[in-house]
């Protein structure tokens, strides 16, 4: 694999140019994965920028990003390749005359069959091969970044198949023979940890756990992605989100939700994070009714301090 980045510092600065703020941890491990030529398995809660990381890497390296979104029931024909039967059929119909010409001169049935067999390659060529993401990444003329998103949603069976592809980057298509990768793609797998991945897959990957960002990190992300939001408000907003994460919610707000919220605040032309603004916009952050009620009770209209000092202390960020 050609070198993308020549040091961890370049990883960091290049990702930064893609508007992705990488911690030292992320940049070191990305660099390591690239150097060792190993797939990178990223895990973490939803919405912390796992997919975004792959996009940023592709952008930074100037490579095409090929994405395979996993889901239950995903199989080889959806992930690797499929023969485009209808196109083959269409071609045969349209080329009937030409075929008649070729086959018409044949004396016997056997001869005609032989002639047809010679042309067989036309119908089983890459022209009729419907390339799915994995094959696309393997056959691409230029090096690519292959993102296998939410691998934990695919079945264990598919995981085993993926292992085979990831270990030597070649696939055999019975009609065409073995296709080997011209360039080994940089592979990023993401998982939301909804089920345990197989030991074998984990063994082959480098592991990166991305957690919710710290206050400074998140603030930096907000400032970078939503530059229109005024700094003071950004600070308040991020502090509020961090508080929400500490409170025990059914679904904690993710970074992407923080960004949505920041955008909403800009759109509403909010000046201050007062009670009304909060009540109007909080549904952008919290998606469960129970969470909403809880946040309203505890954070927006907190009980008076002298009644419940401990409760306030718990959410004041320490």
């Amino acid at each position: 694999m050609t070198t993308l980045f020549d040091s961890t510092r370049t990883v960091k600065s290049e990702l930064n140019k893609q508007k992705y703020i990488a911690s030292d941890e992320i940049s070191t491990i990305v660099y390591l994965a690239q150097k060792l030529g190993k797939p990178l398995l990223t895990e973490g809660p939803a919405g912390v920028g796992k997919t975004e990381l792959a996009k940023a890497i592709a952008g930074a390296a100037g490579r095409e990003l090929i994405r395979l979104q996993c889901y239950e029931g995903l199989d080889e024909s959806k992930a690797l390749y499929e023969w485009e039967y209808s196109k083959q059929l269409l071609y045969t119909q349209l080329l009937r005359d030409k075929l008649n010409d070729t086959l018409g001169k044949a004396e016997t049935l056997a001869e005609a069959a032989d002639k047809l067999a010679k042309e067989e390659d036309v119908f089983f060529s890459e022209r009729f091969l419907l390339m799915r993401p994995l094959l696309k990444a393997i056959l691409s003329d230029k090096p690519t970044v292959l993102l296998i998103d939410e691998i934990d949603r695919a079945d264990a069976e598919f995981e085993a198949f993926l292992l085979e592809v990831l270990s030597d980057f070649q696939v055999s298509v019975p009609e065409l023979g073995t296709l080997t990768a011209k360039h080994k793609p940089f592979v990023v797998l993401t998982s939301n940890n909804t089920r345990e991945l197989s030991e074998a897959l984990k063994r082959r990957c480098l592991y990166l756990f991305i957690d919710y960002p710290t206050l400074t990190e998140e603030l930096a992300v907000v400032r970078l992605k939503v530059p229109d939001l005024n700094p003071k408000l950004a600070q308040q907003a991020v502090e509020f989100v961090q508080k929400l994460r500490k409170a025990d919610m059914r679904k904690s707000p993710s970074i992407s939700e923080t960004l949505d919220w920041a955008n909403a605040l800009v759109a509403l032309n909010a000046k201050n994070l007062d009670k009304e603004t909060l009540e109007e916009t909080i549904s952008v952050l919290l998606k469960h009714e129970a969470d909403l009620q809880k946040a309203k009770r505890q954070l927006i209209n907190p009980p008076l301090p002298r009644h419940k000092p401990d409760e306030l202390g718990r959410f004041s960020g320490n």
Binding site: T8, D24, E25, T28, I29, L32, A33, K35, L36, K38, L41, E43, Y85, S86, L89, D155, A156, E157, N193, R195, E196, S198, E199, K202, R203, C205, L206, Y207, L208, F209
Partner: protein
């Protein structure tokens, strides 16, 4: 450096992290690549290659500094307060020190000088408190405390207080005393840190020297009643892993069933692209998920087995269409409701807390009567009835009539018993129950339990 990394890996394994050979090789090539100058990068290269599970990250974070220093240079000592004393002050100090015993004086002098403990001294201290026998990091602080006590830390602290008082009375300036106190405090903190670190490192080393004999395989084969608390915890984790493995295997088995009833709707849909010529045949999914009614004996003798069995069943939840779980000691209780939450461990704990076990009060007969009265309708032609218990009934009526009615209603009956047949005597009614069951399996360790569940799902 290499042997240090290997020790870390061994310690990780001893703490229950699975590190394969390929992964340790990978760790070395990562370290080769990143170098060891930058400590943070070194740490990350090891972590990304060795740890593949969020749950194991804390273990790594705890062990790493013990093998590769805490990142800072050795603990800072405050310095020697006597360095810039006037002769008079020094005189005062010597005088004040005179009242203490020889050994105490030496110790105090030492603290004031701000000298670190030497490696030999630390070794000797460790020897004294038996540090070499400890291979559990939870004892780090306790060990460090014992070592400090062996150094007579508390006495020295008291003596120093006295010394300060003495000096004050002798007319030493307040500032000077305050300065001395601060320096000594720093020295003490430094020494404490040194000791704590040493204890941690030594324990981690012991951990990595721990013979690998205590590995999972042995644990899997160990009978339930011979397990320590610690081992039970490891087993609980292993149960989850085994369950995940079984789940995959069962899923494969269900997927691979490529014959059976034709699914016309799916077939037509799949073959639209072939002009409706049926090229791909689709079959109806064969649902092989059993419906389970499980009755667990949770009296003292059976408790651990039942606990594992329950967590196993609930880890397999997705493969089971419907579970009704009951627990009994002297009477029967329906416990499925406890398991509606997401956390099986808590649920099990709550059940065990609700039904404390007494002495010799197991009564299966009466529990069967309870079952017949309230829950007979949970059994039907598609149900697998599982009894987990040793069949020891304290000479109560075994109520074979109810049991045989139950086995007739259920599709099959499987009895999991930790005791082998040659122990079925005394108050055991097992030999009476056994002929009525479809299957009696001996389950006295985790491996047998896993096999039992496997047969259960295969059936």
């Amino acid at each position: 450096m290499e042997s240090r990394i290997l020790q870390l890996i061994a310690a990780l394994r001893a703490s229950g992290v699975r590190v394969s050979l390929a992964e340790s090789a990978e760790a070395f090539s990562a370290v080769d690549l990143m170098g060891i100058q930058d400590r943070e990068q070194f740490r990350l290269s090891l972590r990304a290659t060795l740890i593949k599970d969020v749950k194991d990250l804390p273990v790594f974070d705890k062990l790493f500094p013990l093998f590769f220093g805490a990142g800072q240079p050795p603990p800072m000592m405050g310095g020697n307060p006597m360095d810039d004393m006037t002769p008079e002050e020094a005189q005062m100090l010597t005088e004040a020190l005179r009242q203490f015993t020889e050994s105490l004086r030496q110790r105090m002098q030492r603290l004031m000088n701000g000298e670190q403990l030497s490696r030999e001294e630390l070794e000797a201290l460790g020897q004294m408190v038996g540090l070499n026998q400890v291979d559990d990091l939870r004892y780090q602080n306790w060990m460090a405390q014992r070592m400090m006590r062996a150094l007579a830390f508390p006495e020295v602290r008291e003596a120093l207080k006295e010394l300060m008082e003495q000096l004050r009375q002798m007319g030493m300036s307040r500032d000077r005393i305050e300065q001395m106190r601060e320096m000594i405090q720093q020295n003490m903190d430094g020494m404490r840190e040194q000791i704590e670190r040493f204890a941690g490192e030594r324990i981690a080393e012991n951990l990595s020297d721990k013979p690998r004999g205590e590995s999972m395989d042995n644990l899997l084969n160990r009978p339930f009643h011979a397990l320590s608390e610690e081992e039970k915890k490891i087993l609980q984790r292993e149960v989850k892993r085994l369950a995940a493995m079984l789940r995959t295997r069962i899923a494969l088995r269900q997927k691979h069933a490529k014959s059976g009833q034709l699914d016309p709707k799916a077939t037509i849909r799949a073959n639209l692209k072939y002009h409706g010529v049926p090229m791909e045949i689709r079959h109806k999914d064969r649902v092989r998920k059993p419906k389970i009614v499980v009755i667990c004996d949770i009296s003292t003798s059976m408790r651990f087995c039942s606990e594992l069995m329950l967590s196993f069943l609930f880890a397999l939840q997705g493969q089971v269409r419907k579970t009704h779980a009951f627990a009994f000691i002297d009477h029967l209780e329906y416990i499925s409701e406890d398991f509606n939450g997401s956390n099986a461990d808590e649920a099990i704990a709550s059940v065990l807390w609700r039904m404390p076990s007494g002495h010799y009060n197991t009564d299966l007969g009466w529990s069967l009567q309870n079952f017949q009265d309230g829950y007979m309708d949970t059994l039907n032609g598609g149900t697998t009835l599982i009894i987990v218990g040793d069949g020891r009934n304290n000479y109560y009526d075994p109520r074979l009539d109810i049991f045989s009615a139950m086995t007739r209603r259920a599709a099959r009956t499987i009895w999991l018993n930790p005791e082998p047949p040659h122990l079925w005597h005394g108050d055991s009614d097992m030999s009476k129950y056994a002929p009525l069951c479809t299957n009696v399996l001996k389950v006295s360790n985790l491996r047998e339990l896993a096999e039992a569940v496997d047969t259960l799902m295969a059936g």
